[in-house]
């Protein structure tokens, strides 16, 4: 059976080129980079070359790149690490974090953790009907204790591109005023996981102080990611042990995966324009095809959207059932319906955008990748209406 993979926002396959680059580091160059012998040195050189590639990609210094097991770990380290430093500097002050209501669980749950332990106060910014944070809302909730603003670059469920540059400009302005009143600066973190492949992620352009990413969303393996943190920012490490990663992340480095991450970032720079053009065309085709089905709507319009994520709400059908029947037809998609969550709650992102729970139940997300073809999109456009029709016929009339 043909297999059409349209769930790239969940994960991607390791590309052949990335895998080839990784291979020597499993058996040939396996040394521990903390050891001074030549085996160790080979590994150390490999890590530093990967770090160089990451630095080039982000327009950062190599000393500002810290490899982790993925974006989740990077996010935990950024948020918890900054909060701990804040206590070290002023143990009486409970730091305040501003984030959005549509962040990935990695950010939301980290914030909730800090909130539960009363280590931080959190403000969750609302979004408009297009799923966008309003920069001005930040101005309204900033307090003297505000330590961090954390807003994702691209939302993973519906692709809205958040106004990162605008937010960083505002924070710089606020920080200038804070400097004059002897308040510490507010840091700005972005979870850029879904943006890496297609958008400008140079940190100076974005104006961010910290940035997290995960390799497996762009053809590097699962289990590797990084945190960019601007020179001058102190963090307290969350994983104690050896001195790896400049004392900020203990544990023997995952050399082959770090090498793979570096290679995948390098490949993005080479292929971006070409991939972007192709994916934009496929996405337009998919949207116009799917919207021909009656009572289907696009989540949050077409403006300010990442090229690879497209999310629909299908009336009178439950998302998981659609997903399963698509899967039977060899098509991988995703859904933010309650039944797929494991928690039986509809997507917090769709609810934050103002959709009602009964609408959110009909959520269906497709996310494109570099290897998708026009023919595959044609197949989806042919299969989906039948599946929706079948499920609608099954539903009771209310």
């Amino acid at each position: 059976m043909r297999r059409i993979y349209l769930d790239h926002a969940a994960t991607t396959a390791v590309s052949a080129e990335v895998l080839k680059t990784m291979k020597p580091y499993f058996r040939k160059h396996f040394g521990n980079p903390s050891e001074p012998h030549q085996w160790g040195r080979e590994s150390k050189v490999a890590i530093e070359q990967a770090r160089e590639k990451a630095a080039v990609f982000l327009g950062a210094k190599t000393s500002e790149i810290l490899f982790t097991s993925g974006a989740t770990e990077a996010i935990n380290l950024a948020h918890k690490g900054l909060v701990e430093v804040s206590y070290k500097e002023d143990s009486d002050k409970i730091p305040h974090i501003i984030t959005s209501s549509i962040e990935h669980k990695a950010v939301i749950e980290t914030c909730k953790h800090l909130e539960r332990l009363k280590l931080a106060k959190i403000t969750y910014l609302p979004v408009d009907k297009n799923g966008l944070v309003k920069t001005n809302d930040i101005k309204k909730v900033v307090k003297p204790e505000t330590l961090l603003v954390s807003v994702m670059y691209v939302n993973n469920e519906m692709g809205a591109i958040q106004p990162i540059k605008e937010i960083s400009k505002l924070i710089k302005k606020i920080n200038l005023a804070r400097f004059n009143s002897h308040l510490p600066p507010i840091y700005f973190h972005t979870d850029a996981t879904q943006a890496i492949q297609y958008l400008d992620c140079r940190v100076a352009e974005l104006g961010v102080d910290l940035l997290s990413l995960s390799g497996h969303k762009f053809y590097a393996p699962k289990g590797v990611g990084l945190l960019y943190f601007k020179k001058g920012i102190s963090l307290i490490r969350q994983q104690d042990g050896g001195e790896q990663e400049n004392h900020l992340r203990a544990g023997t480095e995952n050399i082959p995966y770090i090498v793979g991450l570096g290679k995948a970032l390098e490949l993005i720079t080479e292929d971006r324009q070409q991939t972007l053009r192709k994916i934009n065309n496929l996405k337009e085709k998919l949207i116009s095809g799917v919207l021909k089905i009656p009572e289907v709507k696009l989540v949050g319009g077409t403006e300010k959207k990442a090229p690879h994520i497209v999310s629909f709400l299908v009336k009178g059908v439950e998302g998981e059932a659609m997903m399963l029947l698509l899967s039977e037809k060899g098509i991988a998609a995703s859904s933010g319906s309650a039944c797929t969550s494991g928690l039986l709650e509809p997507s917090h992102v769709l609810l934050a955008m103002g959709y009602r729970p009964e609408e959110a139940h009909g959520s269906l997300r497709f996310s494109l990748g570099k290897d998708n073809t026009k023919e595959e999109i044609d197949d989806v456009i042919e299969a989906l209406p039948r599946i929706i029709e079948k499920l609608r016929k099954m539903a009771p009339k209310l």
């Binding site: 059932a321 399963l324 039977e328 309650a338 039944c339 039986l344």
Partner: protein, 132 residues
């Protein structure tokens, strides 16, 4: 290790080929149950026949809006009760429904509860009608 967060083959088969799906015109009993938490809505229709003073479920049909488990549980319950004496059918538990499907992921057990409830309510609806 048992991977029990995924559906059994039987669940997927019932989702693909639902049994006794549709509507019964002039049913002897009908019930609609819903679970606002998950957003599932099930409707069950039954037609009763009396043979030698005993009541049998002659026909049964379902309509469901919901996830894979909601559809599969409502589909399988129809096969479990069709042509069965009413007294036997009303004893079907949600565990029996889940077992008949080769098990359900723990988080989906409430769907089997919903299916059992739909049947009980459809029978209650029939009893209420015949009382009059």
């Amino acid at each position: 290790m048992k991977i029990n967060q995924f559906y059994s083959k039987k669940v997927l088969e019932h989702l693909r080929y639902p049994r006794n799906m549709g509507e019964i015109k002039n049913p002897d009993g009908v019930a609609t149950v819903g679970n606002p938490v998950c957003g599932d809505i099930m409707r069950l229709y039954i037609k009763i026949e009396k043979k030698k003073g005993k009541e049998y479920i002659k026909d049964v049909k379902f309509q469901t809006l919901g996830c894979g488990a909601a559809i599969a549980t409502s589909s399988i319950i129809t096969t479990m009760v069709k042509d069965k004496p009413l007294s036997e059918a009303e004893k079907i538990t949600n565990q029996a429904i889940a077992e008949a499907l080769g098990g359900l992921p723990p988080v989906k057990m409430h769907c089997s509860l919903l299916a059992a409830k739909a049947l009980q309510k459809a029978i209650a609806n029939y009893r209420q009608k015949t009382k009059k």
